[in-house]
Each structure stands twice: as structure tokens, then as C-alpha cells.
């Protein structure tokens, strides 16, 4: 009797084991996830790392990551979406944050609604805001362009300034320090192109403003943050603390050559700063200077991009699962990409990890990533609208006359607003 019961038990157990195996097999995920992305030293290897991690748990899932130039990804995406053909579209595509709304609004229904699929409260606020349309969230936030004031400690010490003197300052104070640096060391305080809008966008976002208001209407002539940013641009140029550069390479060369004492830009510049090994130990990072108006904070952002899933792609659900598991769940993954590639994610739980609290010899032992993680949370959330680059272009057609003093800042803003409205028909 006991023996019989034992046999029955064994049979039942066996049955359970076998059925669970077949059950597991039938739900095992499989398919090929195709991805379009750019940057062979950043996004591509990071995506490869993510793919490897996912494939370890899901061996039947393969990845096809296509490396393209950023402009090329945009071009291809436009052609595919505009032609209404879905055959050529990937499952996942990288889109620059400034352009996100352009795609979301121009091609309604083209991107998968991820509102209930991803836990967005784990990500930095400003990042979720820019990919939200009509209350729905369409992307998975990726790298941050949280900005900082990178400076050469040796030059600033010569001018009599310590690290504390650079944290939480206004742009007016920055210019004052710059004059002293110029006087004592002969070096320019900052380098940028007179037609480059990067710094202006940093200034504006630090005050929680943009070229457009929350509803997407053009907001130039009555924009106090923009007015202050214009003033600051002009003051920097007039005070002679600037080294004028033209184009990306000259701009990078200016600080790599030690011609400028500081650079204010996104955290992603770290790779370029560190590329000049000779200046190791001579750099530090402080908070972004703020505009001298109410509501401005010492935190801002420049650039950054995020992943989007195409609604009609072949393996949409698999792609969402992949992004959810790695980009919205794998803390160790974020440590690895920070160490290997200097990529600062916007996934907040990852920022208590070991890699984020490491001291960096290059920055005189400063825990730079701990600092940046703190600043990320303070970045004001704004709506970038869909014409950021068009606005940039309109602004910089009037800037030469502002620099030369030919027209007042108010008139210049008015002129730029008119021009922008003409161009985008609003």
C-alpha cells in the first residue's frame, strides 16, 4: 500500500517536472530585436552590453544593432515613417531628446505607448517629461546631459580662487572670476563659438524656460530667461574672457590645449576632457552657473537621448521587455557602462551603486559622478517643443548685431521671434 502510494507520488512529481519544463519552453522568448543607433564609442557598445545581458537569460533572442550617424538615423526614420512603409523599420530607435516631440507629434501612432509598461517614477523627472505627449510616455530614458562647470584648478588657484568659490555661483560672478583669471594667467575663462546655442540652452533650462512655452507656442520676445541669457552672452564676449572657437573640434581643442580655464557643458564631455592625459589631476567640476533671475537653479542639461519602440515593429513586445529588464531594472548594467564608457544614465536607483561613488584621480579625487547624480534631480522639467534647432538658427541670425551693439536685446528678440514664426508658420 505504502509502495503504491510512493509510486503515485513519484509519477505525480515526474509529471509536474515534465509539464513545468514544457511550460517553460513554450514561454521562452525568441526573436530578433533590431536597433538603430549612433555613436561607436558610446551608444553602440552600451547597447551591445545590454543585448549580451538580455541574451544570457533569453538565449533565443538575437540582436541586430545598426550603427548610423545621428543625422542618418533621423533621415531614415523620416523616410520610413513618411512613406508609410513599416517593412524597413527597426524595433528600437535612438532619438535625441531635443527632437523627441518632433517625431511624437509628426507621426502619431508610430511609437509604442509605454506608460504602463515601464516604471517611470524611477527615472529623472525632466527626462520623462520630454517624452510625454498628452499624458502618455513613449520612450525609455537613457543618457543624461546633466551639465557642470568643468574647470582647471591650477589656473583658478593662480587667480586666487578655491573650489568653494565656484559652486553655486551666478553667471555674473562667473564673468567676474573670468576677468581675474584672464588678468593673472592670460588664459581665457571659457571657449565657445559665437554662433553656438549650446550654452544658451543650458542657461535657459536652468531657469526652467525654453524657446517655447508649455503649449508649444513661440516664446522669445517675452522670455526673461532668454533675455538674461542674451545679456550674459554679450557680457562674456565684451569682457574679453572668451576664446572664440568655430565648430566642435576647435571648441574641444581649446580646453585640451589648456587655452581656456573652464568649460560649461554636458557630462558626456568627460571622455574628451580626460583624453588629454597631461592635464590629469588639474581638473574639477562645479555646479552649473545660474542666471541672475528668480527661479533659476544651479543645474541644467545639454543634449542626451532616449530609446523608443516602434508601434508596428515585428518584435515590439520583446523589445519593450528587453528595455524594461535592462534599462529600467539592471543596476549593475549602469555601473558597467559608467565605468567603461562614462555614460551617466537617468535611472535613479542605479546611482547608489559603487561606480557612481568612485573617486576620480583625473578630477583630483572628486567623486564627480556622485555630484552629477545629485544635480540630475534638480534639473527643471520643460517642454522642448518641436522646433528647438529652428529656434536656435533664428536666434543666431540676430546675435551678430547684438554682439556689435547695433540693436538692443529687446529688438533682437522681437526680430528673432518674427523670423521663427515665419519659418514654422505659427
Amino acid at each position: 500500500m505504502l509502495k503504491r502510494k510512493f509510486i503515485i507520488l513519484v509519477v505525480v512529481c515526474l509529471f509536474l517536472v515534465v509539464s513545468s519544463i514544457t511550460y517553460a519552453e513554450s514561454t521562452e522568448k525568441s526573436g530578433e530585436i533590431t536597433i538603430w543607433s549612433w555613436d561607436p564609442n558610446f551608444n553602440i557598445p552600451i547597447m551591445q552590453e545590454a543585448a549580451e545581458r538580455y541574451a544570457k537569460d533569453n538565449p533565443k533572442v538575437t540582436f541586430e544593432i545598426t550603427e548610423l550617424a545621428k543625422a542618418d538615423v533621423e533621415q531614415k526614420l523620416h523616410i520610413n515613417l513618411a512613406s508609410g512603409v513599416t517593412a524597413g523599420l527597426p524595433d528600437i530607435v535612438l532619438i535625441e531628446d531635443y527632437n523627441a516631440q518632433k517625431y511624437l507629434q509628426s507621426y502619431p501612432g508610430a511609437f509604442a505607448d509605454l506608460t504602463d509598461k515601464i516604471k517611470f517614477s524611477d527615472f529623472a523627472n525632466y527626462k520623462v517629461g520630454l517624452m510625454t505627449l498628452d499624458g502618455k510616455v513613449y520612450g525609455v530614458p537613457f543618457d543624461s546631459g546633466v551639465s557642470g562647470l568643468f574647470y582647471r584648478t591650477d589656473y583658478l588657484e593662480k587667480a586666487g580662487y578655491k573650489s568653494e568659490d565656484l559652486n553655486n555661483i551666478t553667471w555674473d560672478k562667473f564673468i567676474e572670476i573670468g576677468k581675474k583669471v584672464k588678468e593673472k594667467t592670460g588664459k581665457a575663462m571659457i571657449g565657445f563659438g559665437l554662433d553656438d546655442g549650446g550654452l544658451m540652452r543650458i542657461m535657459m533650462q536652468s531657469a526652467g524656460k525654453w524657446y517655447f512655452d508649455d503649449k508649444g507656442n513661440v516664446n522669445l520676445s517675452n522670455n526673461d530667461a532668454l533675455k538674461e541669457a542674451f545679456k550674459t552672452y554679450k557680457a562674456i564676449v565684451d569682457s574679453g574672457i572668451i576664446k572664440k572657437t568655430s565648430g566642435w573640434s576647435e571648441w574641444v581643442a581649446a580646453f585640451n590645449n589648456g587655452d581656456t580655464a573652464s568649460v560649461v557643458t554636458g557630462v558626456w564631455i568627460i571622455g574628451s576632457v580626460k583624453a588629454d592625459k597631461a592635464s590629469s589631476g588639474k581638473w574639477k567640476v562645479a555646479t552649473t552657473p545660474r542666471l541672475n533671475i528668480a527661479g533659476a537653479v544651479n543645474a541644467s542639461n545639454l543634449g542626451g537621448s532616449s530609446w523608443y519602440v516602434l508601434e508596428n515593429s515585428k518584435n515590439r513586445d520583446l523589445a519593450i521587455d528587453f528595455l524594461n529588464q535592462i534599462y529600467a531594472g539592471d543596476i549593475d548594467f549602469y555601473q558597467k557602462i559608467l565605468m567603461d564608457r562614462g555614460a551617466v544614465g537617468t535611472y535613479l536607483p542605479a546611482q547608489s551603486g559603487a561606480a557612481y561613488s568612485k573617486e576620480d584621480e583625473f578630477f583630483s579625487g572628486q567623486k564627480v559622478y556622485t555630484d552629477f547624480s545629485g544635480w540630475i534631480k534638480a534639473i527643471p522639467t520643460i517642454n522642448y517643443g518641436i522646433y528647438t534647432y529652428e529656434a536656435d538658427a533664428a536666434i543666431f541670425t540676430v546675435m551678430p548685431d547684438v554682439y556689435s551693439g547695433k540693436i538692443s536685446i529687446e529688438d533682437a528678440l522681437e526680430k528673432a521671434e518674427e523670423q521663427l514664426k515665419d519659418q514654422i508658420n505659427r
Partner: protein, 273 residues
């Protein structure tokens, strides 16, 4: 008088040396960049460095260079061959056979040269998708073998070919294809060489159309690869320069190899009467 002449001469040479430097400098800078690290290129270093080996190694380990070069060669080779056959036959047809509608049709085709490619892009893309040629090299080759410019260019040079020779061949009983392949082509070699060089360069450097229809890294051509390399927070300029040097070599080889014909073909027919 003689003195004047030599001063002119000196001025001419000064001018030539100046233009030589201006046109050769980018090539020098490209080769020098190939031997430097990214930071040195950014800093504007003009002299040769010692990073060439590491740049080449990085290039070949990060990218499947051999496959990408073979892709480019394959596409370019078939395109050139296709253009030489299809477009030259069209040009020959327009020049040799007369028909009342000939010039009207020709004019219409020439008109297509004026339509910018951007305007054709989306319909052409849809067509390629319908034909299931998306992400294939055939999609690239098939769309470029009927080249309006080459038809125009070849017809201009074919005008110099004496029609009497064709009539004589017909009298001798040669078929139309035989006349074309055995008599016409051999005597128009330099025009064909010029057309070959032109279409080789155009196809090797083609960028927009390959970008649109090639979807995966496996199918990629060399122009797409180079374009993607510089789109970065921290571009590896030394490696990019290495890739550009490698991509430029075939053009230099083809150009200098056929230079004699190229000049002849551009100047007109080589047929001596």
C-alpha cells in the same frame, strides 16, 4: 621682351605651386591624421605621429572592414558594368536610329536630370519595398544603372562616330548587336573609360540612396561606415582618418589608372579620320 616672358613664367609657377598646395593639403592632413591619436588631431597636430598601427588595429577590430569594402566593391562593380551596358546602348540608340519621336523622348529623359533626387526618394523607396529589394545590394544597383547623365555624356561623344562605318558594316551583313559590340565599342574605348571612371566615382561615393535602402551593418558600404564613425560625443579622429584613407585608395587607383582615357574622353572622340 625675354625678361618679361620669364617674369610671367615665374608668376605662373608661383600660382601653380599655390594651387598645388591648396589642393594637396587636405590629402596630406588626412594621411597625417591617420598616424595621430584623436586628441592630437583635435589639437591640430600637422606632423606625422606614431599611432598608425593602433588606429588600423582599432579600425579592423571594431568594424568588419573587409566585408564593408567588399560590399562597396560589389555594388560599384555591378553598377559600373550595368551603366556601361544599359546607358551606352540607350545613348547608341538615340544617336544611330532615327525616329520622329526620338528628340522628344530624349528631351524628356534629359528633363529628368533636373528633378532633384530628394523629390524621387519616397516613391522610389516605396517601389523598392514593393519589389522586396529593401536592404539588398540589387536595390542599389538596379536603381542606378539607367544613368541620365551617362546617356547624355555618351551620346555627345557618340556624335563623332561616322555613321558610314555602320552602314558599311550593314552592307557586309553584320547584325546590329555585332556592329555595336565588335565595331562600335572598340573604337569608342576612351569614351567608355571616361564613363566608367565617372560612374565608378559616383557609385563609390554614393551616400543618400544607400543610406535609405540599406538597413543592417552586414550590407553597409564604406561611405555609410565613415559617416557613422564621426557621430559621437568623442569621435576617434585618427581611426576615422584611417578609414578615409582606405576608402580613398580605390578612387585614386582607378583615376590614375585611367587618367589618359579620362582626359581623352572628356575632350572628345579619339577616332581619327
Amino acid at each position: 621682351m625675354k625678361k618679361n616672358y620669364s617674369i610671367n613664367r615665374i608668376l605662373v609657377y608661383v600660382f601653380l605651386v599655390f594651387t598645388f598646395i591648396v589642393s594637396v593639403f587636405p590629402f596630406y592632413w588626412m594621411v597625417a591624421g591617420m598616424t595621430n591619436s584623436a586628441v592630437d588631431v583635435i589639437k591640430g597636430k600637422m606632423t606625422f605621429g606614431n599611432q598608425m598601427l593602433s588606429n588600423i588595429t582599432t579600425l579592423f577590430t571594431t568594424y568588419n572592414m573587409v566585408r564593408i569594402l567588399l560590399n562597396s566593391l560589389k555594388v560599384t562593380g555591378f553598377t559600373v558594368l550595368g551603366i556601361l551596358i544599359v546607358s551606352s546602348m540607350a545613348a547608341y540608340g538615340f544617336q544611330i536610329y532615327s525616329s520622329p519621336a526620338r528628340e522628344k523622348v530624349y528631351g524628356l529623359i534629359i528633363l529628368f536630370m533636373m528633378v532633384p533626387f530628394i523629390a524621387l526618394m519616397i516613391p522610389l523607396f516605396r517601389l523598392i519595398v514593393k519589389m522586396h529589394l529593401l536592404n539588398t545590394h540589387s536595390g542599389l544597383v538596379l536603381t542606378s544603372i539607367a544613368s541620365v547623365f551617362i546617356i547624355f555624356f555618351l551620346r555627345q561623344s557618340f556624335k563623332a562616330f561616322p555613321y558610314e562605318i555602320i552602314q558599311a558594316a550593314r552592307v557586309d551583313g553584320a547584325g546590329e548587336f555585332r556592329i555595336f559590340f565588335s565595331i562600335f565599342i572598340p573604337s569608342m574605348k576612351s569614351s567608355y573609360a571616361a564613363a566608367a571612371i565617372y560612374s565608378f566615382m559616383a557609385s563609390w561615393n554614393a551616400y543618400l540612396w544607400p543610406l535609405i535602402i540599406l538597413q543592417t551593418d552586414k550590407q553597409k558600404t564604406v561611405t555609410l561606415m565613415i559617416s557613422s564613425m564621426s557621430s559621437a560625443y568623442f569621435p576617434e579622429w585618427g581611426v576615422i582618418m584611417t578609414a578615409i584613407v582606405i576608402a580613398t585608395l580605390p578612387i585614386i587607383i582607378v583615376f590614375f589608372g585611367f587618367q589618359k582615357y579620362f582626359v581623352q574622353g572628356m575632350l572628345g572622340s579619339s577616332l581619327k579620320q
